[in-house]
């Protein structure tokens, strides 16, 4: 697992695509949080990173699939998957290695956004009047969300040998799981069940986490989503092995 993990991170960071993906993510975030007048912090007027944590899930929805799309799809395509399977490594270790590598890459992409924090701290009145602990909490929340997205990304990557297809599937599933359920719960005909349906989606669970409140149930939920998708990936890998 460790060798897979290292190999995965290295191969990603050695490709130019990686820097392009991270660059696009950081430009989008930067524009949304600082430049676009509808969302920019200057309009809001308070030293609060809420805007960042509210928008990040939508941008990560594209970033993470782009990071993970390669993970299994490429192995399948280039035939190295079979090769790997002949090595003394189990499917579980393989996908866990890829999963954690993806998570670390997301983490690396998020680090530069700390610039926002320092800028806000500088702009706040008085200087440094910013809720540091709350922001750390919100970052932790964002990482939990990212871990679920990564799980979804790895799963999608196992479904197809085409990276683009994997990417699209991952974005789609992430979108449905993040927003779909709360949108359904808003529909009039489910008003009886709306809370329960809402709770299936990630949005309802991210709500508190993104503000810096670490609720055990929300954490459990995100870990559950990750493990479900990793479980599903495991199943897909096994099925493929026995069907081929």
């Amino acid at each position: 697992m460790w060798s897979i993990f290292k190999k995965e991170i290295n191969s990603f960071l050695n490709s130019l695509i990686a820097y392009l993906v991270m660059g696009v993510f950081l430009v989008s975030m930067g524009l949304l949080v600082w430049v676009f007048p509808d969302t920019a912090i200057f309009e809001y007027g308070y030293a609060d990173m809420g805007i960042f944590f509210n928008l990040a899930p939508y941008v990560l929805m594209f970033l993470i699939p782009a990071i993970t799309m390669k993970a299994l799809a490429e192995e399948t395509k280039s035939g190295t998957f079979e090769l790997l399977m002949t090595k003394p490594i189990t499917e579980l270790k393989l996908l866990l290695g890829k999963y954690f590598a993806g998570l670390v890459l997301v983490f690396i992409s998020l680090i530069p956004t700390l610039v926002y924090y320092f800028s806000l701290s500088y702009l706040s009145n008085p200087v440094g009047n910013i809720d540091t602990a709350g922001i750390i909490g919100a970052y932790i929340g964002l990482l939990f969300l990212a871990s679920s997205y990564t799980g979804i990304g790895i799963f999608s990557s196992s479904l197809s040998e085409n990276q683009i297809v994997s990417f699209i599937i991952a974005v789609f599933i992430s979108f449905i799981v993040f927003m779909g359920f709360s949108s359904i719960s808003d529909l009039a005909f489910v008003s009886e069940l709306d809370i329960q349906i809402d709770k299936i989606g990630m949005l309802a669970h991210y709500d508190a986490l993104g503000k810096g409140v670490i609720d055990f149930r929300d954490v459990l939920y995100f870990i559950s989503i990750s493990s479900l998708f990793l479980g599903a990936t495991y199943m897909v890998l096994k099925l493929r092995k026995w069907n081929s």
């Binding site: 600082w34 200057f42 530069p112 702009l123 009145n125 508190a208 149930r217 026995w242």
Partner: protein, 563 residues
């Protein structure tokens, strides 16, 4: 049954088991609330009393918030905070709470909209005018910063904008945000509360006529049963007693009843005047404010405070209309500052008065404390920094209005006018003979832990009367005031009663302290471009730098490898 033996079936089954397990675990911990609020002021945590209240709801609560639509950024902050609070309420109420935000402007026609406005105002949700300056265009609009809460077929309006206006709009919004939890929880509690506490309203026949008390009655009876009482022996049946501007001299036996009521744990609120003055009795030549002798002074002295026989003038005062001259046949009426009508907005940091808007006092006296062991005396309300204390008897006339208020005469500051007394009170009848007809063996010499509030203004809880139709205004309305909102006299008495009577500590949520973290406006304007550039470009530069370092590091590593 062949498919059962297949390997693929095994893995599908394994996944289904995992799925079921995960769902079960999540369901199992559904009600396990364990959370860490990382925010500095624990912004997203609620008071235990609120949580208990919400957990124990038996029927669904519906909350309709009317703050929605095109509102400015200050009010958006309030709106967001209301949403967040209600979202948390929902968490703790396990589905027994639903809320939605209604835009009062959304109507098919202007007529229907005005109809809806009227409907809201009739419900008791007063609008606020908001001036917005966006892109150089000034606009003005009505918004309704309030909500309606329904529970079990009853409903209550809740005003969610209630900070101290003197502190500025932004600060008032912050204070309102701090109070959201209390306001909402308190309304839910009054609706859900089955065993309503009963309060005796003591008024002597000669004093306050019925109509000036209407505002008080309307306000208090939403949550408590307020019953007028004249016979002090009946006080024993009540949870609290409010004494408003008593003028009569209580008999020894009546005083004994009051004393023993307090000894037995009855909560008491005294609104007393040191000097008696009624503005309607001021004629052309003025009137004399004379000391009121009620006999209550002896009791209060024993409990630890003394309402002085004086009247306070304050620079922070309201206005009063006065005839300043004649223009032809018509009298010329002008509003002049009337330093006897004091605007009090200088509060202690105590849940009762924190974040409250100003209250309006008329002919207020000062209060001194006297030695009383085991009693904690907390001053709640103070006068402003420019106060003058006049000892009685005083001649008060409208003539004095015309003289300019001379600041150098106002050399006292922050005179306390309301005290909260808490502790074990000593009876005023300790070591004394009990009045005739009372049973000495039943006398209590010391109370259990109890609390008393003494305010040195009998008019605090009285409504102004509309001279045009003789109807009373709601409590806290000054007919001559030029203020955006009513004075908080109503909120004051409700907070006091909540503090004294609610043992579950809901009012503690009023001591929430939020910090505002504004951007430095000047800096934000000056450095805007730089900041935008920095925040868009620097993260990318960091990533590129990271890539380059990696690249060269690897090159070196492999170069070495080749050697």
């Amino acid at each position: 049954m062949e498919f059962l033996k297949r390997k693929s079936t095994e893995y599908i089954l394994k996944f289904l088991i995992l799925f079921t397990l995960v769902v079960l675990v999540n369901l199992g911990f559904r009600y396990q609330i364990f959370r860490i609020d990382m925010t500095e002021e624990n912004r997203f945590s609620m008071n235990d009393a609120t949580i208990t209240l919400l957990k124990n709801l038996e029927e669904p609560v519906y909350v309709e918030v009317y703050l929605e639509g095109d509102i400015n950024s200050e009010f958006t902050r309030l709106q967001t905070a209301i949403k967040q609070t209600l979202e948390q309420f929902k968490t703790y109420a396990y589905g027994n709470l639903q809320y939605n935000f209604v835009n009062p402007d959304q109507a098919s026609s202007a007529n229907a909209r005005n109809e809806f406005y009227r409907y809201l105002i009739d419900k008791g949700i007063q609008p606020t005018t908001v001036f917005d300056n966006k892109d150089g265009k000034k606009s003005q609009k009505l918004i309704f910063p309030g909500a309606e809460i329904s529970y079990g077929g009853k409903s209550l309006p809740v005003i969610l904008l209630n900070g101290n206006n003197a502190a500025g709009a932004s600060e008032a919004i912050t204070q309102s945000i701090e109070n959201i939890e209390y306001e909402l929880a308190n309304a839910i509690k009054s609706l859900a509360n089955v065993d309503r506490k009963s309060i005796a309203l003591y008024q002597s026949k000669e004093s306050a006529s019925g109509s000036v008390l209407k505002g008080l009655k309307d306000a208090v009876s939403q949550k408590y049963d307020l019953i007028p009482v004249q016979n002090t022996a009946r006080l024993q049946n009540f949870d609290a007693a409010i004494f408003i501007k008593p003028t009569k001299d209580f008999s020894n036996s009546e005083l004994y009843d009051i004393d023993q009521y307090i000894m037995k744990g009855g909560k008491s609120l005294f609104f007393l005047d040191g000097l008696m003055m009624d503005v309607d009795s001021i004629k052309d030549y003025g009137a004399l404010a004379l000391p009121v002798e009620t006999g209550l002074d002896d009791l209060l002295f024993k409990y630890g405070v003394r309402v002085n026989k004086d009247i306070i003038q304050d620079v922070n005062s309201g206005n009063f209309p006065i005839v300043t001259g004649n223009l032809g046949k018509d009298a010329q009426i002008q509003l002049l500052p009337w330093p006897y009508y004091i605007i009090l907005n200088n509060y202690a940091d105590h849940p009762i008065v924190r974040n409250m808007d100003a209250v309006y006092g008329k002919f207020v006296s000062s209060i001194d404390t006297v030695l009383a062991p085991d009693i904690t005396k907390t001053p709640l309300i103070f006068t402003s920094d420019y106060t003058r204390v006049l000892n009685g008897p005083i001649h008060i006339s409208f003539e004095s209005l015309k003289e300019d208020v001379k600041p150098e005469n106002f050399n006292k500051k922050n005179v306390p006018v309301t005290y909260l007394l808490e502790g074990e009170f000593n009876s005023a009848y300790q070591n004394r003979l009990v009045p005739k007809g009372k049973d000495e063996s039943k006398r209590l010499n010391k109370s259990e832990s109890n609390s008393i509030i003494v305010a040195s203004d009998g008019d605090l809880l009285l409504s102004e009367i509309n001279k045009k139709n003789n109807q009373p205004f709601p409590l806290g309305v000054d007919p001559y005031a030029n203020r955006p909102s009513n004075f908080a006299n109503e909120q004051l008495i409700l907070n006091m009663l909540n503090y004294l009577l609610d043992d579950d500590g809901l009012i503690i949520s009023r001591s929430k302290d939020l910090k505002i973290r504004p951007l430095d406006k000047v800096k934000a304007q000056e450095d805007k471009l730089l900041m935008q550039l920095l925040n868009v470009a620097l993260p990318i530069l960091l990533i590129v730098l990271f890539g380059l370092i990696r690249f060269y590091w690897r090159k070196r590593k492999y170069a070495k490898f080749n050697e």
